[in-house]
């Protein structure tokens, strides 16, 4: 027989139990769905990626290529190569190389970076991240720093 003198505690406990179980079940349904929305990493490692046709580049020339899903600008100065993340550190537009001024220019808010990727003028808060260059047997390889 139910103890009618204490209905509230027993009912209260059952209510609590039902609420707790439904919350757990609900979370079990919702959490995997949320995790599903998180982008899975892809694009491969940005290590020792060959710059196709680098030897054909004339001094002063630049080329923007895609490495592991990111745009990277490779510049040939005389015989030396340099590579930077091409996305401007302000709002992500891609910089171009101005060989007459020896500077990178951003088309969006007129930022200027020098040949080392340092900010010369404009709104960007930080320099262009630099990539490492390796030259092996006439081929040029780029790696994220």
């Amino acid at each position: 027989m139910m103890d009618i003198s204490e209905p509230s505690t027993r009912r209260g406990f059952l209510d609590w139990l039902i609420a707790a179980c439904s919350s757990v079940a609900g979370a079990a349904l919702v959490i995997p769905g949320l995790v599903y929305l998180w982008p899975a990493a892809k694009g491969g490692a940005a290590e020792n990626v060959e710059v196709e046709g680098a030897s054909d580049m004339s001094p002063g020339q630049a080329r923007t290529i895609q490495i592991a899903g990111k745009a990277v600008i490779v510049v040939r100065k005389r015989s030396e190569y340099r590579a930077f993340l091409a996305a401007c550190t302000h709002l992500g537009c891609l910089v171009t190389w101005d060989s007459s001024r020896n500077e990178f220019l951003c088309p969006c808010h007129a930022a200027v970076f020098d040949e080392n990727g340092e900010v010369v003028s404009g709104p960007p808060p930080s320099p262009l991240p630099r990539y490492q260059i390796k030259e092996v047997g006439g081929k040029v390889y780029v790696s994220a720093a």
Binding site: L91, G92, C93, L94, C106, A110
Partner: protein, 391 residues
């Protein structure tokens, strides 16, 4: 017995159609307050545009392909080959812009009429959500043609998310579906634009309309002192107000078709993730926030900037709970009206600065280069070399 009558009696035999009919009758002939006029049509105009966007959007979906390889081409196909495809694409693109305008006008109307006050606070709050939903429709839809301007405006727009304190970089990664704007971003925006938002939005609008009907429209009477208007003074929703809305429908269709023919939206160049074109700016409705954000630089500045851009939205949400004065008539609410005008003019001014920033403009016969922050720099080109561009 006619077919209509037959169907009616078939239904009458099986369901309680009396109640349903009574409900429809009551809603159709509901009396609106006597001051309901032409300013009150912006709400239904917004709804109408949503219906139009839904219909034209579904039609576009038949030929649109949401992948980086096919999206741009599919829009070209819609415009060039599909019968009336150009028309539906134009009406959808222009409808998006007009819908944002209509929602803004509707908010401005209810703000100055004091309609957000008790008991209609929640109607206002659902309205603010609808406003945010409309902007999100615009932002996600804009990317779908996958052209240069859209691609780079979206890159810049999602990059701004990076400035949100603490979670910024995650937020940006999540929105883009990766490090950069790619096909993953297109998929995400597509699903939000054509599935998630339409349903959420429909739910919001239904709640908004139910709340609106439950409280009826606001008058200029003080809060808590509204007299229930006797039916003979009210304006019947049908046919009087509906007739006004009919006029608006016709005007709207005329405007949409005229704009579509005379000022068609460009399809633009296909997106190129390896080259940013010059003059990237967001759509006009983002220009005020975009411009405001420019004034805050550096790590702390960015945080303050994000705060400054979200403050207006917080204020909008909380406004009915902050402004608790009993007056509704704008003449008796100088403070709220002044504040509203200030906000509105501020947004217009910032938007205008954003629009002319980084362009050359002529004022009073002199040419100026308007810099990033909207400051004019006079151009003195005597030798053609001394341009005072602020680099």
């Amino acid at each position: 017995m006619g077919l209509g009558r037959q169907i009616e009696s078939f239904l009458d035999d099986r369901f309680d159609t009396e109640t349903a009919r009574g409900f429809v009758d009551k809603q159709a002939h509901k009396r609106l307050p006597p001051n309901t006029g032409w300013f009150h049509v912006f709400g239904s105009l917004s709804l109408l545009l949503f219906v139009s966007q839904t219909i034209t959007g579904i039609l576009l979906l038949i030929y649109y392909r949401p992948t980086p390889e096919a999206a741009h081409e599919s829009i070209q196909y819609i415009t060039a080959e599909v019968y009336f495809g150009w028309l539906y694409r134009q009406i959808h693109a222009w409808g998006g812009t007009l819908m944002i305008l209509a929602v803004v006008f509707h908010m401005v109307r209810t703000y100055f009429w004091g309609a957000y006050k008790k008991p209609r606070e929640l109607t206002w709050v659902t309205g603010v959500l609808i406003f945010i939903g409309t902007i999100t429709f615009g932002f996600t839809g804009y990317l779908l043609p996958w052209n240069q301007l859209a691609f780079w405006a979206t890159t810049v727009g999602t990059e701004s998310a990076n400035k949100v304190p603490l979670i910024g970089s995650w937020l940006q990664y999540f929105l883009r579906g990766g490090d950069a704007v790619t096909g993953e971003t297109l998929s995400r925006f597509f699903v939000v634009h054509v599935i998630i938002l339409p349903w959420l939005f429909t739910g919001l609008v239904v709640v908004h309309l139910i709340l609106m009907r439950l409280n009826n429209l606001a008058t200029f009477e003080r809060v808590g002192e509204e007299k229930p208007s006797p039916p003979e003074y009210g304006i019947p929703f049908f046919p009087v107000h509906v007739a006004k809305e009919g006029v608006v429908v016709v005007l709207l269709l005329a405007v949409l078709v005229t704009l579509s023919v005379l000022v068609p939206w460009e399809i633009g160049e296909p997106a190129d993730p390896l080259s940013t074109p010059a003059h990237i700016k967001p759509e006009w409705y983002f220009l005020p926030s975009y411009q405001l954000l420019k004034y805050f630089e550096g790590p702390y500045g960015a945080i303050i900037g994000i705060f400054a851009c979200s403050l207006p939205f917080f204020l909008l949400f909380l406004w009915p709970f902050l402004d608790r004065g009993k007056e509704r008539h704008p003449k008796r609410r100088p403070l709220a009206v002044g504040f509203g005008l200030l906000g509105l003019l501020g947004a217009l001014f910032l938007g205008y600065l954003g629009h002319i920033s980084e362009t050359e403009q002529t004022f009073f016969g002199k040419r100026y280069y308007i810099d990033l922050l909207g400051r004019p720099n006079e151009i003195v080109d005597d030798a053609g070399t001394s341009e005072s561009k602020a680099h």
